[in-house]
């Protein structure tokens, strides 16, 4: 275990339910992600990829084990601290874009900054525009989520994930809902951002082509990394 890892996970356990009904999803999982990593998370359906991403994203508490990010112990942190930590250090891209339907693209992108500062600042709007340009949507700034295509929505979601310049972006099957062409564009974008900005990505996927685009592949079998 190196001291300058972005994420260090040690003996992570996640069990749903109790007694006979218990489902043991993560069984002492160890994982380390260095800063600026570009990793694909592979594994059969039900192997616990989404569960792991939820725990790494501090959206779910593990049943046991250790988890530190940026040197912070995230197991013992309070709910409020975790909310704040997520906001500043972790970005999310999900299989579904989950954009706020009543907000336009720019408003969606700057949400993480606005919710942290309590208002939409000019600086945030400038960065939001820059990010939308970065994902190739500078002509869709005022469009609402319902007025965008699936691939465009996912690119807005990526811009939103990057808004607060997080050290880590967790992406759960980000191309799962897209056609091949859109998927390729999204993947290209992620690789580019990783290269240019040094943001670490952990991308769960079933698609070997996506995985090939990543620097390394993490395979999950039976609740552990192999």
């Amino acid at each position: 275990m190196s001291g300058d890892a972005l994420i260090t996970v040690d003996g992570l356990v996640k069990t749903f339910g109790e007694g006979d009904a218990a489902t043991h999803v993560l069984k002492g999982l160890d994982l380390e992600i260095p800063p600026g990593d570009m990793a694909a998370l592979l594994g059969p359906s039900g192997s616990g990829k989404s569960t792991l991403l939820s725990i790494l994203g501090t959206l779910m508490q593990p049943s046991g084990g250790h988890y530190t990010m940026l040197g912070r112990d995230l197991i013992s942190a309070s709910a409020g601290e975790l909310t704040d930590f997520r906001n500043h250090h972790i970005g999310f891209v999900f299989q579904f874009h989950h954009l706020l339907p009543d907000f336009n693209a720019l408003e969606n992108v700057i949400f993480p900054a606005a919710v942290a500062s309590g208002r939409e600042t000019r600086t945030a709007r400038d960065r939001g525009r820059e990010l939308l340009r970065r994902v190739g949507l500078e002509d869709r700034i005022e469009y609402r989520a319902s007025e965008l295509s699936g691939g465009q929505k996912q690119r807005v979601a990526i811009a939103r994930a990057l808004m607060n310049q997080p050290e880590l972006v967790l992406a759960d099957e980000p191309t799962g809902n897209l056609d091949r062409e859109s998927a390729d564009r999204v993947m290209e974008l992620l690789v580019e951002i990783n290269k240019e900005e040094g943001t670490a990505f952990l991308i769960s996927t079933h698609d070997e082509r996506i995985a090939d685009n990543c620097r390394r592949q993490i395979r999950m079998v039976d609740g552990q990394v192999v």
């Binding site: 939820s54 909310t83 989950h98 706020l100 949400f111 919710v115 208002r119």
Partner: protein, 401 residues
């Protein structure tokens, strides 16, 4: 806060039909509230005006002195004492108190009076009358005699008498004719009929007559002092307190109109209670309406609330977004309902000026401010449950969908 407000407004604006319906419902509830307040308040004003309009709010009299009882100390003696009935309890030194009574705050009119009984004689006809001596110019201080005059003038001189119309008809006299007034003291005076009134109250129209205070002094052999002082207040609801104050400061017996009208007061209170019940139900409907609409919205927006939480929105932020929606609906719906109520109720005449059969609505008692305040508070209260439920949305459970 500003950002939470923006999201709250965006949510409300996203479904204009639903928000519009909700606001309409809240406004209607507030309208019912305001309408009930104005109606119940107006009814009270109307009934009190009908009852109290022509009677004094406070009457000051001499404390009734029981006759001194001298009981023999021989055992077995039974003493029966009858309180004097013809004894006139005059306010001997009332003149001294008059300036004080007149200067008390809240006093609208003070009428020093001498009252007594007698007969009005015209030729062969005789009729019993209840005579009231009032200061000239204060004829209408208590009951509106001047306004109900059917003939003559309300100006009393020392040689005129104003009588009820029925009384005049019984005696067969008309305006300007001379009658003889004989008091129960046996004093007689010839007086000219200076006016005829018709109050619509048979006992008064057939029995009551007014003379000047100085004429009454002569008729009832009361060179000084008064029988009673009748008082009108600017606010008749202050009568009890006012009477107590006069009693405390003068030692005289002061009676509030409420003492003789306990049933009316009870009825008004019961009416106010049922009004409050209806108003309470109106508020309850508002609370339930707002709560269910917002709760529905939290279910519909579950996924995006989850995503907001994942993006770093705190539970408090989500709570704020929904409380602000409730507050906005309560405030705008409240103001709209109160405004609507004001517009609808304003054309109604004041209930103390209307004739029987009209709708007694008192727009001044609409309780508009209270309605808005209660509605806003109720709506905020109603949004607490949806807000809490929204803030507990688990990001993981909605994101996976």
């Amino acid at each position: 806060m500003i950002y939470a407000l923006k999201i709250a407004f965006r949510y409300l604006g996203a479904n204009k039909t639903q928000t519009g319906l909700l606001l309409t419902g809240v406004a209607l509830g507030v309208f019912v509230f305001v309408f009930m307040s104005a109606l119940i308040g107006g009814l009270a004003v109307y009934l009190i005006e009908r009852t109290v309009g022509d009677i004094p709010h406070v009457t000051v009299e001499a404390p009734s002195r029981d006759p001194q009882v001298l009981v023999s100390d021989v055992p077995g003696t039974l003493g029966v004492v009858q309180k004097g009935t013809s004894q006139r309890n005059a306010l001997r030194n009332a003149d001294a108190f008059l300036p004080l009574i007149a200067s008390l705050p809240g006093t609208e009119a003070v009428s020093p009076e001498i009252v007594g009984n007698g007969f009005l004689i015209r030729g062969q006809s005789t009729a019993p009358v209840g005579l009231t001596g009032v200061e000239p110019g204060k004829l209408s201080a208590i009951a509106d005699i001047a306004g109900n005059l059917v003939a003559g003038t309300p100006d009393l001189t020392n040689s005129t008498i104003i009588v009820g119309r029925t009384l005049a008809e019984d005696l067969g006299v008309s305006l300007g004719q001379v009658v003889t007034m004989r008091s129960d003291r046996g004093v007689e005076r010839s007086l000219v009929i200076g006016g005829l009134f018709e109050l619509g109250v048979e006992s008064l129209d057939a029995r009551a007559a007014f003379v000047s205070l100085s004429t009454a002094r002569v008729l009832f052999e009361l060179p000084q002092g008064l029988s009673r002082i009748e008082i009108k207040l600017t606010d008749l609801n202050q009568a009890d307190a006012h009477a107590a104050r006069i009693a405390a400061e003068t030692g005289l017996k002061a009676t509030s109109w409420t003492q003789g009208n306990a049933q009316l007061i009870d009825g008004l209170n019961a009416q106010a209670r049922s009004g409050n019940l209806i108003k309470g139900f109106a508020l309850l409907t508002i609370v339930i309406g707002v709560a269910s609409a917002l709760l529905l919205s939290t279910y519909r927006r579950g996924p995006e609330i989850g995503i907001m939480r994942a993006m770093g929105a705190s539970q408090g932020f989500v709570v704020l977004v929904f409380i602000l929606q409730g507050a906005f609906i309560g405030l705008i719906g409240g103001v709209a309902g109160a405004g609507l109520g004001y517009l609808a109720l304003s054309p109604f005449p004041r209930p103390d000026t209307i004739s029987p059969g009209s709708f007694p609505i008192d727009v001044r008692q609409g309780a508009f401010g209270l309605a808005i305040l209660l509605t806003a508070c109720g709506a905020i209260l109603a949004s607490i449950l949806p807000a809490r439920s929204a803030s507990r949305v688990d990001p993981v459970s909605v994101i996976g969908q």
